[in-house]
Symmetry: D2
């Protein structure tokens, strides 16, 4: 029943200045709209479609940038981790550790993330039914950590295509944990451009709005001032200059949804 | 940008009194909520999962009941047709002819329905991509009839399961024709009970709300005073006594969506 | 345990001479390979993707051509029907009435086909699980007709794509009725070319061989001397001049499969 | 064109004696049938559906058992790795490192495996199209290692279900690398029993035979003397006492397939 949280940022960290520019603008946009803001960016893209895809600035430089953002803007920061070892290191800096979708069933990753005590955001695998998230929650809870977020990011639907099943949101909400809608990855077309993923940017606001109307706790949106030149996930990112209007509208739906909770 | 239309009724006609009871109650509910109401019921279920499933009262008795409802309540009436021959007969009575999903590519059916001059509501086949509806529209338009509705009712997703892809709604809306969300069939589980279809009634309001937030022209909802005893589609119907609250909430989302149109 | 039957022909009847040319060549090919041959062609394509697609020569002219072929070559003939009325008419000429996949749950069609006493070949809908075919069989058996064939022709797999699930073949075989693999429609890409279906001709022999290795009773293959100019289904048809080698190889796998039956 | 290789063993290592018993029996079975044999077992199940699922004996004890088997029986040995660090350690003992399906796009894993110089068997992710394997191959080849195997193990098909698309086998074969059919995981029902995966053991021979008829280089089959008591993947494993007859039949299809190569 709390107002919508917006988890947003570039897909990957490009530079300190670039990250700060986006964090600054998004903080203002969210403050104006009454949304809580969490900055998101990756220091490493560990599973690029092809070897030639840019990986990012690496964990050392990346965590330093995230640490700066956290302190400069006084906002929570989220990043994704790719090995057990990275969990503890990243948790020294960030508020939320994110488990990538492909890794969502790797038991040791989940345990390592849980043990840090940080909030753990698990992206539901493209190969997973929403009711299977209970097993993943149990793995994390076994560490004593119950600060868990569950994210929908689309499910495999034939080849090179995802579909976002709206039933997934209330099903995951029944676990009692906050549910996040990843509006930009849900419209990804995995491997759809041969050496990289395609995407349908125009449908990201569609996914975000439908999910917010159902009362999700948060939306996850990747954004860039010029998506077509972004080093990753450009095809499905929302241009930064459209984020203000989008979030403004989402907050109206959020208010209505929170006043009229849907239950299954 | 007009307020939401609600197409609702029992899955199949059971008796004159039963149909009138539901039409009367739904008319009141919709009037109170500010929604336009269209009564829906089938005189024949031509593609029951199994031979033992009840077919309905037949075209003669059925059209008489629909005619009565139309005159008694002064409301538009919709029914589905199953052969070319039925189109002209049904169009003498009803306002909207509905093409069942399995038949949505049968050219002669579409032409026969178009030629009646009645509104034609085409349910998108479970096997069809939303962008394929353009070809179906062209078939109907070739008769000179441009009174067309397009309905999403779920897409095959593995066996015995459907998924409702929210992208389908704005994609179909780009044709310029009104888009309908069939909230109850989208949560059907085809053949899921062996000799009949199962369903997930609890998700019908989820589908309806997500679609209304995206600005659809109408929702399609099957209802019954006691779904568990309904002769067909009971598992996915919404109990009649829950329709008032549901439609009331949907109208609030509709007002917000129509004031904030989404475009792709 | 009988040798493989080959159901083959052009997708649609183009002319009497064309049909005879294909029937003649295929009869020779099958005789040389030791396969039983059934000629297949459609007099009407009732569900073309778009209005502009060629429909065919119609039922009167088409049945005359089929009748000629049956008598001239002394081979069984199969055609597909699209309405109840067509069942009795077509059954006067052909040996096997085929129920199209989209129509496989239309009860009245199944009953009308069953009542003719002809063999009824039901194509499993792209939206149907193999275990749902039992309900369809019961509909036909209710007419007293137990001469039934069951055909796999692919299942919806995301948009514009089908997948052929090999499990379907032994599942349907458990009904006791002969199972047919439709190798060319299984590799169709429905609506994949916008105004018509695409296809992956190169995979038709893959599907045929996998199915024959599992011991199916028959394969269904559309063929044409110049598929790229065929009026329908060209993208997934096998060139006529490749049929000899294909069927020859299939018969070797058939012999091995029939000697080593697989059971589930 | 070489005879079929059989990769087989228990899903996870249970004890030294148990592993040796299976390796010994399988070696005899394969020798009798003329198949090359590779022993497969896991020292750790790193992504069990639920926390309560048995993980296995661990890397130290596990590699010791594998080393023994390799020397005792003079057969190649395969195991799966779960982190970059495990690659080099496992490669000291085993001939083939296997990349699990969920991890098939983790670049650092692929590079670490490639750098060992061992054969690398990549299982195609349940979320991946077969034509995306080219990108994965390029990652491994960048290490100078071109000893690569590609394995089909099913693709997501709705929730809790996989489908094995036979087109995948010739598509992957076009890369020039040997293709393996994982017959037992392809019939897994992920998460299908709530806290663990279900499976359809009866279809594993169906998948194996269809793939062998298409000329795959190898089949991958998990086996156990009493699958219902196996610590993992029991529902889809083939009982050890059925392996002799199965492999015998597969070799006949293999000979025919290799003599009649299929090309796309």
């Amino acid at each position: 029943d709390r107002p919508l949280t917006v988890i947003a940022g570039p897909c990957q960290l490009e530079s300190r200045d670039h990250a700060q520019m986006i964090a600054g603008q998004m903080k203002e946009i969210c403050a104006a709209a009454g949304a809580q803001y969490v900055f998101k960016a990756s220091y490493d893209k560990a599973n690029r479609t092809s070897l030639g895809g840019k990986r990012g600035m690496g964990i050392d430089a990346g965590l330093a940038v995230l640490d700066d953002i956290r302190k400069t803007f006084a906002i929570p920061v989220l990043t994704d981790v790719h090995t057990e070892e990275q969990c503890a290191r990243a948790a020294e800096v960030v508020d939320i550790l994110q488990i990538p979708a492909f890794l969502c069933r790797q038991t040791d990753m989940l345990l390592a993330a849980g043990r840090t005590g940080a909030v753990v955001n698990v992206k539901k695998g493209q190969f997973l039914a929403p009711w299977e998230m209970g097993n993943i929650i149990t793995k994390i809870e076994s560490t004593g950590n119950t600060r868990i977020l569950l994210t929908e990011r689309g499910t495999s639907f034939g080849y090179n295509t995802l579909v976002a099943d709206m039933r997934s949101l209330p099903i995951m909400a029944k676990t009692g944990y906050p549910v996040v809608m990843d509006a930009t990855h849900s419209v990804q077309q995995p491997g759809g451009q041969g050496g990289s993923s395609g995407g349908q940017r125009e449908f990201a606001p569609v996914m975000a709005r439908a999910a917010v109307a159902l009362g999700v706790a948060a939306v996850f949106i990747e954004t860039h001032e010029d998506p077509d030149t972004a080093p990753s996930d450009g095809p499905n990112m929302i241009p930064l200059d459209q984020m203000g209007a989008l979030i403004d509208t989402l907050m109206r739906f959020d208010a209505l949804a929170k006043a009229n909770p849907i239950e299954i």
